[in-house]
């Protein structure tokens, strides 16, 4: 469609420039106005049925989440609950097969921090007592999931349960200690290239969500520490919350 508006005659030079600008606009958009357009609606293009959306064939979005690792067995407390965290950010794809069932995958990056308890007897990763001590693992975690949706709904994520599995590449493994020296100064020691830690991990995941708000649980099946070092395992279960960015 070509719709053009008329122009008033002003200074010839200005008019010439306007013509040039108008011509350029016409070449680019094939339409131009000198009247102020207050409202413009194109019904034809709006009427095309979409395939991408929260409850349509394909849906993608980013997400951000925080989890709290903790030991299932309360007798073991190698980490401090609450200050140990697992931060996640990633991209999620969902492929809908029916109103009840969908599947998809995540590509996420995470930063897990395990604040180590210094209670005696201390065994992780060694018996040395520090003022503060923690592990930090930066990882890339692809995962796949099956989604079971509940309830009739429109183009809306709704209530759902996800069950899936994940793998992780622990790209960077760090160990921190903080102690005071004789001068009462804080000394922070960061150790990298931790040979006693595994570079890969895997486990299961479960999510229960209502639209963008999600409760998450991850259970790590693999060990963090190589078995040859005989270091007690850090928490396998991480429970948290997640927000879909859509």
């Amino acid at each position: 469609m070509q719709v053009t508006a008329c122009q008033l005659n002003f200074n010839p030079l200005v008019n010439f420039m306007k013509r040039i600008i108008l011509l350029a606009l016409l070449l680019v958009t094939a339409s131009a106005y000198t009247q102020e357009i207050l409202l413009e609606q194109n019904v034809k293009s709006d009427s095309i049925r979409p395939t991408r959306g929260p409850n349509l064939k394909n849906f993608t979005h980013f997400y951000i989440g925080v989890g709290f690792p903790f030991h299932i067995n309360e007798e073991v407390t190698y980490t401090k609950f609450g200050t140990s965290t697992a931060l996640d950010f990633g991209f999620r794809y969902k492929r809908k097969f029916s109103n009840f069932f969908a599947t998809g995958f995540d590509l996420g990056i995470g930063s897990s921090t395990y604040n180590l308890s210094q209670d005696v007897p201390k065994t992780v990763p060694d018996t040395i007592i520090n003022e503060k001590e923690k592990f930090r693992i930066l990882s890339f975690s692809p995962s796949a999931y099956l989604r079971f949706n509940f309830g009739r709904r429109g183009n809306y994520v709704g209530n759902y349960l996800d069950l899936g599995a994940y793998g992780s590449w622990n790209m960077r493994k760090l160990h921190f200690t903080i102690n005071k020296n004789e001068m009462d100064e804080k000394v922070r020691v960061e150790t990298t290239r931790l040979d006693y830690m595994e570079s890969f991990a895997y486990g299961f995941l479960a999510r229960a969500g209502t639209n963008r708000y999600v409760l998450t649980a991850k259970y790590r099946m693999s060990d963090i520490f190589k078995s040859s070092y005989s270091i007690p395992e850090l928490p396998r279960l991480t429970v948290g919350v997640e927000v879909g960015l859509f």
Partner: protein, 543 residues
């Protein structure tokens, strides 16, 4: 510590997912048949409902009004958790039941089908003393919300909705039993009945939960001393609480039950400022036939009631379009305009319906001054445009009681400020009282001219700068001259319509020079029509 954390997580999970905690759901169970069973319309209906049926030429003894077969209901009752209500119109019973229970119900030979309906939750609020003060903007808006609909013309003609019974369906009428804006109605015993359809047994108390309905009611009939808020200050009312919370979590079942109740109690008009969109439906289901509430609204219209409904507030959202039941063909859907500009307000939902019917039908102020539970307040939403038009409809019907509900529907459309021009943001524009109180044919002189060549159509506004270019009357041009008033006189409305009468694109321009528009005819295939409305004058020309 860990146990406590787990407990909190589990509690949060159950709160977030009540379906896991309680498997009972709302269902509509439809029956295959029903019998008259001694139905006596004179016993069942209010006298005004009988009167409405006679006026509309509707049968008094209609099968859709026969009671649901009680034997069927009794057989279903022990199989489900609870029977909520029975629907005569849909020959159905609404029940609370699990999926397993519904599976057993479906095995009964007289059951036709079962339909799942979403449940909801409750929220309660409280308010203090009433405040009637207004600032300058509120006074200005209050004046405009009525003057644009022709309050002076209605007053001059003595029309205030007297004798018209209006049912208002809403989320709650908090403090409406005390708000002074309704003193005149209470004092004259024009509040006929109230019913809370969100509770079992339908108790009469509707004055709690949310003040939305209080504000809506005030936009129909509110008045404090000489300060008029709505047009139908002389009408009678039925108030029905049909929702428990905000619009998105509300109930369609309650709406149906309330509509049958309104019908039984003689309502002439239903105003419902609610809508259902993306949480339950897809855009392409907005065809007026898919959702239960749209089917119920159409049924209400078939019973002779004028159903006025808000178009919705999704105009600037992803949904964009009208929701249900504003998509129903027999529902007068009302969009919103911005008082500061005079044209479509951004949040007002657009049409058309998914089957390409025009919606909204008309528009009114989407920003109003209303009587809230605590005092006069500024508020916005098509929720308030709808009751303004419902009040207008009451006055219009009072002015001509020979009209049927659908005749009134068409007359209100014709009274629109842009009629016969329309688009999917404004419908036919703002209804005008003068159409009803005066000649019904308010002529407007041409306000623009066409300059047509073989390839182009040029539109020139009639101003001092426009010169003396005259329209080429040899063209296939149909001029309309019965637009009642000029509204937003500097705005130039035009659309491109296909051969089926469906608008493909539409525009509103702010006219800043006489040469408004040039269209290259060669850019359009045959069969397209250019429709124009400017300053009260409409015209169509084939491209």
């Amino acid at each position: 510590m860990t146990k406590r954390f787990l407990y909190i997580l589990i509690s949060a999970f159950l709160l977030a997912f009540p379906k896991f905690a309680e498997a009972q759901q709302h269902w509509m169970v439809y029956f295959k048949d029903k019998q008259p069973a001694g139905f006596n319309p004179y016993e069942y209906f209010d006298a005004k409902a009988i009167e409405r049926r006679i006026k509309a030429g509707l049968p008094l003894n209609d099968p859709s009004d026969w009671p649901v077969n009680d034997t069927y209901v009794q057989e279903i009752t022990p199989l489900v958790q609870e029977v909520i209500f029975t629907s005569r119109w849909f020959n159905a019973v609404a029940v609370d039941a699990s999926s397993l229970q519904i599976a057993r119900v479906m095995e009964l030979p007289f059951v036709l089908d079962a339909e799942f309906v979403e449940p909801s939750t409750l929220m309660v609020a409280g308010y203090a003393e009433y405040d009637t003060t207004m600032d300058f903007d509120q006074e200005k808006v209050l004046k405009g919300q009525l003057s644009t609909l022709g309050v002076d013309a209605w007053q001059k003609a003595g029309m205030n909705g007297k004798g018209i019974r209006i049912a208002v369906f809403d989320v709650g009428f908090d403090h409406a039993d005390k708000v002074p804006a309704f003193d005149h109605i209470r004092n004259e015993n024009r509040l006929i009945a109230t019913s809370d359809f969100t509770k079992r047994g339908n108790p009469e108390n509707v004055y709690y939960g949310n003040g939305h309905g209080t504000q809506v009611w005030s936009c129909i009939a509110g008045k404090i001393d000489d300060l008029q808020i709505g047009l139908a200050t002389g009408a009678e009312f039925l108030l029905a609480k049909t929702e428990k919370n905000s619009e998105k979590f509300s109930e369609e079942l309650n709406w149906l039950a309330a509509a049958e109740w309104a019908d039984k109690n003689g309502a002439d008009i239903i105003n419902s400022s609610l809508g259902y969109t993306y949480k339950r439906y897809f855009n392409w289901q907005m065809d007026g036939r898919t959702s239960l509430i749209s089917r119920a609204a159409n049924m209400a219209a078939r019973k002779g009631m004028l159903v006025v409904n808000a178009a919705g507030n999704e105009g600037s959202g992803k949904w964009h379009y009208v929701g249900a039941p504003a998509d129903a063909d027999s529902v007068l859907s009302v969009g919103g305009i911005d008082p500061s500009t005079g044209y479509h307000t951004s949040f007002s939902s657009y049409g058309p319906t998914s089957d390409k019917r025009m919606k909204p039908n008309v528009t009114a102020y989407g920003h109003v001054t209303a009587a809230a539970p605590a005092g006069l307040t500024s508020t916005q939403g098509t929720s308030f445009a709808s009751p303004l038009v419902a009040g207008f409809a009451a006055c219009a019907w009072q002015s001509d009681r020979t009209l049927t509900n659908m005749q009134l529907f068409r007359e209100i459309e014709k009274s629109g400020s842009m009629y016969p021009y329309f688009d999917y943001a404004h419908g036919y524009g703002v209804p005008q009282a003068a159409y009803f109180t005066e000649s019904k044919k308010v002529t407007s002189d041409p306000t623009f001219e066409l300059f047509v060549t073989e390839d182009t159509i040029k539109v020139i506004a009639k101003t001092e700068l426009s010169g003396s270019i005259l329209p080429d009357l040899s063209l296939d041009v149909k001029a309309f001259t019965d637009s009642p008033t000029a509204e937003g006189t500097n705005y130039f409305y035009y659309n491109i319509m296909d051969a089926n009468g469906v608008i493909e694109s539409y525009y509103v321009l702010n006219v800043t020079q006489p040469e408004v528009l040039t269209i290259n005819k060669n850019d359009f295939p045959e069969g397209k029509t250019l429709n124009i409305h400017y300053a009260g004058y409409s015209l169509s020309v084939k491209l």
